[in-house]
Structures are given as structure tokens and as C-alpha cells.
Amino acid sequence: MMTAVRTTGLTRAFGTLVAVDHVDLGLAAGEVYGLLGRNGAGKTTLIRMVLGLIRPTAGSVEILGHGVGTRGDEQVWAQVGYLVEGPGLYPELTVTDHLAVAAAYRGLGAGALDAVVERLSLGGQLPVRARHLSLGNRQRLALALALVHSPAVVVLDEPGNGLDPAGVVEVRDLLRDLADAGAAVLMSSHLVAEVARVADRVGILHEGRLVDELDTGRLAALDAGRVRITLPDPRRAPEAQRVLAAAGFAVVDHDGYLDCDQPDAVAHPEDLATALVLAGVPPRSLVVSHQDLEQHFLALTEAGGA
């Protein structure tokens, strides 16, 4: 699959504050990449560098094979749609005006406008000036302006901001459809559930660093849950690990406790308990837990990174 967006060692410092610290990420066509981070984690700074709005202190960005910040950026921007730091709208212009402005810059016909108006349910708002739009409709218009030219790369900073629950679902479906149609979608959010539901891959940004990246397999594993085993004597963990391996369960020794995320172990934890008791290594506790992305995110960001 072609890499649509790639950052290499991307770094940005503001004085002594390192907002983004050596971030390497790649995003393929047809993929939704969710960038997750707390407020101030560096998501928006990263996105601004991806879009060439600010210059990296170090590292580089490539979009569709073109180095951002080099000659010929305009050709790449023709294939990129973006929404960053909220909708930037002209208060006195109507929705129609905004769409006409976007069409003029992108060299589009009316057909393209009709499609995006319909997709984002803006039909009833066309004659309304931006200053009179609700927060949700401002966000819809901003999304329409980002998507009006059917871009190959879509970069959205907090796309669900200001939308009601139905609007959030609509946007989620929209992003999925864009990716299914072959677009590469890079989205950032501090809303874990929003990212978890739509992203194929999730990058967790904490204090400027990409502290974890979860692909579909790891996201599914988080959903699938795990069994955590503690022993009265943690020094016997290797022995317990051997016993469980012989019984067909792969466990990971975490220096004091054991984790097993095999689906059959999660479904039948009693099998693990039985094997350990019969081998003379009875567990002190055996807990089945379903750690979702939110817990994983909090564990990473509260601990200060992996």
C-alpha cells in the first residue's frame, strides 16, 4: 500500500519547550489514523507541521511522496483537505459564498459542491452567513470545505468538535467512507471513544512523543481482554509460565504477575487455574479484565509514557 503521509524524526521546539519530539509515523492510502493525546500533547503542532503551516525544528514530512516545504507544495495541497484548530470562516460570508471560495481555489464545478452539501446536510444553511451558524453547522461547513475536492489525503484536527451525538456518528461514517474510497485520513482527537471507533491505527502522543502505536490487531486484542495471574511467591512466575505453556497458554511474565491475552484463556480462565493447581503452583488471584483503548491510553499518559 502506498504511504500517503510520512513523518520522519519530526520535531518542533518553542524555545525550551519541545512540543513534538522525533515523531515517526506513516499513513497509507485507505487508512484512518487516529492521533490520540491529552490537551497539549502536541497533536495540533504535529498536524500544523504536516500541513506546512509551521516549520519543523528537525525532521521532515512527506505527503504523496513530496517533501513538504520544498518547491511545488501547491501540487500536493491540491490533493489535501484539512481542518485544523477549528473552522476558520469569514463571518460575513454565507455558506454558499464559502463553498464558492473553496471551489474557486480548487477549480471545481457546481457538481462537486452539490455532493458535499448533501453529504454534510448543509442544504438548508446555504444562504446563512457564517456568523449566524450554530457551532455544529460551522463545523459541518469547515468539513465541507476540507472535503469539497475529494482529496486523497484528509487531515482533521478534532473533527467532532461542536457536533451533537448524531453529527459525531455522521462524521465517523464519513471518515470511514473516505478511507474506503481510498483516501488517507489523519485525524486527531482527545476523545478516545471517537478515535477507537473509526481508526484503523491509533498513535498515542504524550508530551510530544509517540509513545505507542496500535494497529488493528492490538486494538482488537485490547477489546478481547486478558487474564492476569498473581502468585503468592512471584519468584515462581517462570515455573507457572512453563506449566501454562505446556497446557497451551502463552503468558507474559511481568516481574510479579503473568498476563495471557489468548481468547480461549479469557473465555475459560478456570482452565488456567486448574493447570496451575494441579502443577502445585496455585495462583493467589486470577482476574479477567477487558482493558479498552481508554484505559490503555490513560495508563500510558498517566505513567508519563512507555
Binding site: 501540487q75 477549528g86 460575513e92
Partner: protein, 260 residues
């Protein structure tokens, strides 16, 4: 040029939808009204007194109630007021993009940033030219309505050209203000800069340095600085100053951190 044309069409649409151009036209209409009032008082002091208008100020200003006096007054209005109004136009065209948070959506377009800036500068030029033409038209209407004497073709053409020259020089001299509007990311820095420029121009005029201060040159062209004639060096100075403003603005918009 296609990018500039598209950019200009977009800028035109923004200006058309805004009340700001009408407000600036209103300011010059008000200035023309003041011209008319002063001329009326100067031409008919007894009638003005009978109507309850205070005529002392106009007479103290030494205004000649004829076409020469009217057009000289108009040139002075343009030289001083033009700086503020044109600077306000520049602040709106450039600074509003940052105040409204729209600038970041002009930075990653299929059109280069240089062309986006060129379109904005072109709109500003058209806007200032339109305002100057509007003001000249109103001034001529005032003169005609008051039946001012001394309206020979040569006098009127020379007077009108002087107003237009002051306007043109003022337009060129304000380009650093649009750089301030961009780098200052809003309306206030350019407006404050323009106010500062007016003060500096006043001081330079009083000290006899007006011909060395680019934005005071329009006042020299308007005949506002007694004993100082407009020289080639001054005109070159305004051109270099204006060019520096344009180049600085383009470079700033093309710099990597404009979207910070």
C-alpha cells in the same frame, strides 16, 4: 497569473459582502462634507453666521473660498486622512485573516502563498484607488454645488492630480502596515502603527525632515509642508519603502511559521 486572478475574485467576494468598504467610503464622504462646510463658511461668512455655523475656524485656517483652496484642502485631507483610512483597509485585508482564524486556510492551497498575497495587495490597490476617485468626485461635486470661483481647467486638473498623487504615494507608503498586520496577526498592530506613523510624520514636518520620511512625502506632495518641494529622491524613497513593505509581506507569508 491564473492564481492571482482567482485570489482576486475571492478577495473581491469577501470585500463585497463586508460593510467595511462602505464604511471607508463613508469616511471620505464625511471628509468631503467637511470640505463643503468649510468652503461654505469661508465663501459666505455672514450667511454662515446667520445659520448658526461657527465660521471663525475656517477663516482662521486661511482657506481661500475658490477651486484652488478646495483642491488644496482635499489634498491635505488625503495626505493625512488617507494614511489612516488606507491603513485601516490594509489592516482589514490582511489582519482580519488572523483575527478571524482564516489565515491557516490560505496557506496550503493549490495557489502559492505569494499569489494569495499578490491578490490581496491588488485588491488593496483597487480599493485605495476607488476611494481616492470617490473622494475626488465628491470634492468636485462640492465645488460645483457651491459655485466656487476660479474653476479653470488647468487649476482643476492640477488640483485633482495633486490629490491623486497624494493618494498614490500614500497607498505605496502604507505597504509596511500590511506587513505589520500579517506579522502582528490582527487589526490592532497595524492601526497602532499607522497612528505612530502620523505622529512621526507630524514631528518630521515640524523639524524639517518631512522629505526624508517616506510616509510624510504624501503631505509634501499635498503642499502641507511649507517650503519643502517634492524631489526625485523623496519619490524614490517612497518607492523603496513601498517595495520593502511588499517584499517583506510576501516573504513573511512564505515563511515556514506563518501558521504558528
Amino acid at each position: 497569473m491564473t492564481g492571482v486572478r482567482v485570489g482576486l475574485a475571492v478577495e473581491w467576494r469577501k470585500a463585497r459582502r463586508s460593510a467595511v468598504p462602505a464604511v471607508t467610503a463613508g469616511v471620505f464622504a464625511f471628509a468631503a462634507g467637511i470640505e463643503g462646510l468649510f468652503m461654505f463658511i469661508a465663501a459666505r461668512p455672514e450667511r454662515a453666521k446667520a445659520l448658526g455655523l461657527v465660521g471663525q475656524k475656517a477663516q482662521l485656517a486661511g482657506l481661500a473660498p475658490d477651486w484652488t483652496g478646495l483642491l488644496a484642502f482635499a489634498a491635505q485631507v488625503m495626505a493625512v486622512g488617507g494614511l489612516m483610512v488606507f491603513a485601516f483597509c490594509g489592516a482589514w485585508v490582511f489582519g482580519r485573516e488572523f483575527a478571524d482564524g482564516t489565515a491557516r486556510y490560505l496557506l496550503a492551497l493549490p495557489i502559492s502563498r505569494g499569489r494569495v498575497v499578490a491578490a490581496k495587495l491588488l485588491l488593496l490597490l483597487i480599493w485605495c484607488a476607488a476611494l481616492a476617485t470617490w473622494f475626488v468626485g465628491l470634492t468636485l461635486a462640492v465645488g460645483a454645488l457651491l459655485h466656487l470661483p476660479g474653476g479653470g481647467t488647468h487649476i482643476v486638473v492640477t488640483g485633482v492630480l495633486r490629490v491623486l498623487l497624494a493618494a498614490g504615494l500614500q497607498t505605496v507608503a502604507l505597504t509596511p502596515v500590511v506587513l505589520v498586520a500579517s506579522a502582528g496577526r490582527g487589526y490592532l498592530p497595524p492601526i497602532a502603527t499607522a497612528l505612530g506613523m502620523v505622529v512621526v510624520a507630524q514631528v518630521a514636518g515640524a523639524l524639517g525632515w518631512a522629505s526624508a520620511v517616506p510616509w510624510a512625502i504624501p503631505a509634501v506632495a499635498a503642499g502641507l509642508v511649507p517650503g519643502v518641494a517634492l524631489g526625485t529622491a523623496s519619490l524614490v524613497g517612497v518607492a523603496v519603502w513601498g517595495l520593502a513593505g511588499i517584499v517583506g509581506t510576501v516573504l513573511w507569508w512564505r515563511s515556514g511559521d506563518v501558521g504558528a
